[in-house]
């Protein structure tokens, strides 16, 4: 066992983990962060996407030990004071989920892609989500939701501007 220290959704944790423990299982089984789901377990589907130091990664393909000393944001850490993150709200408003299983990963990756390109066109959104699969094939509304969120998250928009910088703290720190 090896001791790791991680900040997850704004809360610091110190834990002993096996080297082979994957980050997603640490989050789900040790911390109870079951909002992050395991889809394919082979780094294909993107359902397990979380932010590691502000960048999206597939938590089924990373050892928890690789995240030692890092700041992690899961889908559970996005809302603040009962207010959904603008991306979550946009998914809700645009009916961008059917069964909902891919949704946590879609939202986390959509936030990352807006960090790279705050004003993407439809093509850029589709490319930015290439590592996320929706088995309900509900892509049309997912793309619509991301475009909607991009408009609402622009610095001039009234929605909270969480993605105007690439600072990890811009998206982390919820849940408290």
């Amino acid at each position: 066992m090896t001791r790791i220290t991680v900040m997850v959704d704004g809360v610091s944790y110190v834990d002993d983990v096996e080297a082979r423990t994957l980050l997603v299982y640490y989050l789900r089984e040790k911390l109870g962060k079951i909002g992050t789901v395991v889809g394919c377990d082979t780094s294909n589907c993107g359902a397990c996407t979380v932010h590691l130091n502000g960048r999206s990664v597939k938590s089924c393909s990373i050892f928890a030990i690789q995240a030692d000393g890092s700041e992690i944001t899961t889908i559970e850490g996005l809302a603040r004071d009962g207010q959904l993150h603008p991306m979550q709200q946009a998914f809700h408003d645009n009916h961008a989920l059917q069964c909902g299983f891919c949704t946590p990963g879609m939202i986390m990756q959509a936030i990352d892609l807006l960090g790279d390109d705050p004003d993407p066109d439809e093509q850029r959104v589709r490319e930015g989500l290439e590592g996320n699969l929706c088995r309900c094939t509900g892509y049309q509304n997912i793309v619509r939701a991301v475009l909607d969120a991009a408009q609402k998250m622009k610095p001039a928009a009234s929605a909270p501007d969480e993605m105007s910088t690439r600072q990890p703290s811009a998206v982390a720190g919820g849940g408290n």
Binding site: R20, T42, V57, K58, S61, I62, L113, E127, E130
Partner: protein, 333 residues
């Protein structure tokens, strides 16, 4: 997954000592390929040495127009770097044509060229594979060959190298700086990967315990006009059937110089020196580009397979090279 010990040293010399001393030790970069192999049982190391803190994560100017890329620089940062996009667009395009945002955020510059073939038989531990287990046989020969080699294959292995970045680096005459138990050395990128020959289990010329410190891109003004073109079975998130990395220097309708490498067709990124030679001094025309492809592919050998074989790759690669060079020659610089 089999248990293993894990270390994350803060310096390269310690990392090299640890791996060199243990035949069952491996380096870990971002882990985007190795972790899959651990799950599949393709790899079962006793010790994993994470080198992301032991190697540089910076891209530095060499003062002469070239760049030194630290081994720990993530693929996403390399693709986004303004200097890379201006001086070597082929590198950024190759990176962005592969994997997905999440994987590029984890995958490293040193790790990407060391990813292993996606040959389905290599990844399926229930089938014989000389690359996975030397001497066990090759299931790909006569099997599913769509993603397999047409250049430089052997009777032991017809696998292809999967990296897009590596194809760009081969075209640009990059150099790999490595540290091993015997000290530091530089390896021309085109010599990093091996052809399978009798030992397909060896992907590269690296000794056990040799660690990539950086990949150096030499000054190459013509690379400002460079591109990566990848042809695959779907428009995104798939490996190359064929790909072309190219840079050209065209003036007054004449190709003065060219750098070309092919992906998806060999056990290593295939530097197309014969095609380059045939282009120098030739008119910048489709005929010249086609002739260059045909010169390079004169020795190509298609595989027969249960999927109809992969002879289509010869024509596909010819056309892909023509299209890539045509676009580049017409590009304003």
């Amino acid at each position: 997954m089999k248990p293993f010990a894990y270390q994350a040293p803060g310096d390269a010399a310690t990392a090299v000592r640890s791996v060199a001393a243990d035949p069952a030790a491996v380096f870990l970069g971002g882990g985007t390929n190795l972790v899959d192999h651990l799950k599949l049982g393709v790899a079962a190391p006793d010790l994993i040495v994470d080198v992301t803190a032991a190697t540089s994560n910076e891209i530095t100017d060499d003062g002469a127009g070239g760049l030194r890329i630290g081994a720990a620089v993530p693929n996403s940062e390399l693709a986004a770097d303004r200097r890379v996009r201006d001086r070597y667009p082929v590198v950024a395009q190759a990176l962005l044509s592969g994997a997905s945002g999440q994987l590029r955020n984890m995958a490293t510059t040193g790790g990407n060229p060391l990813q292993r073939t996606r040959c389905v038989y290599f990844q399926d531990v229930t089938t014989p594979c000389n690359k996975r287990k030397s001497g066990s046989g090759c299931s790909a020969i006569g099997g599913y060959t769509r993603y397999h080699a047409i250049l430089g294959a052997s009777e032991q292995c017809i696998a292809t190298h999967p990296s897009d970045l590596a194809v760009a680096l081969a075209a640009l005459d990059a150099e790999v700086r490595v540290l091993g138990a015997a000290g530091e050395r530089g390896i021309p990128f085109v010599d990093l990967h091996r052809l399978p020959g009798e030992h397909p289990e060896l992907d590269t010329v690296l000794e056990h315990g040799e660690l990539i410190l950086s990949i150096d891109l030499p000054p190459l003004p013509m690379a400002a006009r460079s591109a990566y073109r990848k042809v695959r079975d779907r428009a995104s998130y798939a490996f190359a059937l064929v790909s072309v990395a190219a840079a050209v220097d065209v003036a007054d309708g004449i190709v003065r110089d060219a750098r070309i490498a092919f992906g998806g067709v060999a056990h290593k990124p295939w530097r197309a020196t014969k095609a380059e030679e045939s282009l120098r001094g030739a008119p910048a025309s489709d005929d010249s580009y086609r002739a260059a492809a045909q010169t390079e592919l004169a020795g190509a050998q298609a595989q027969d397979g249960i999927d109809g074989g992969n002879a289509f790759k010869i024509l596909l690669l010819t056309r892909t090279l023509v299209a890539t060079l045509r676009d580049l020659a017409h590009e304003e610089t």
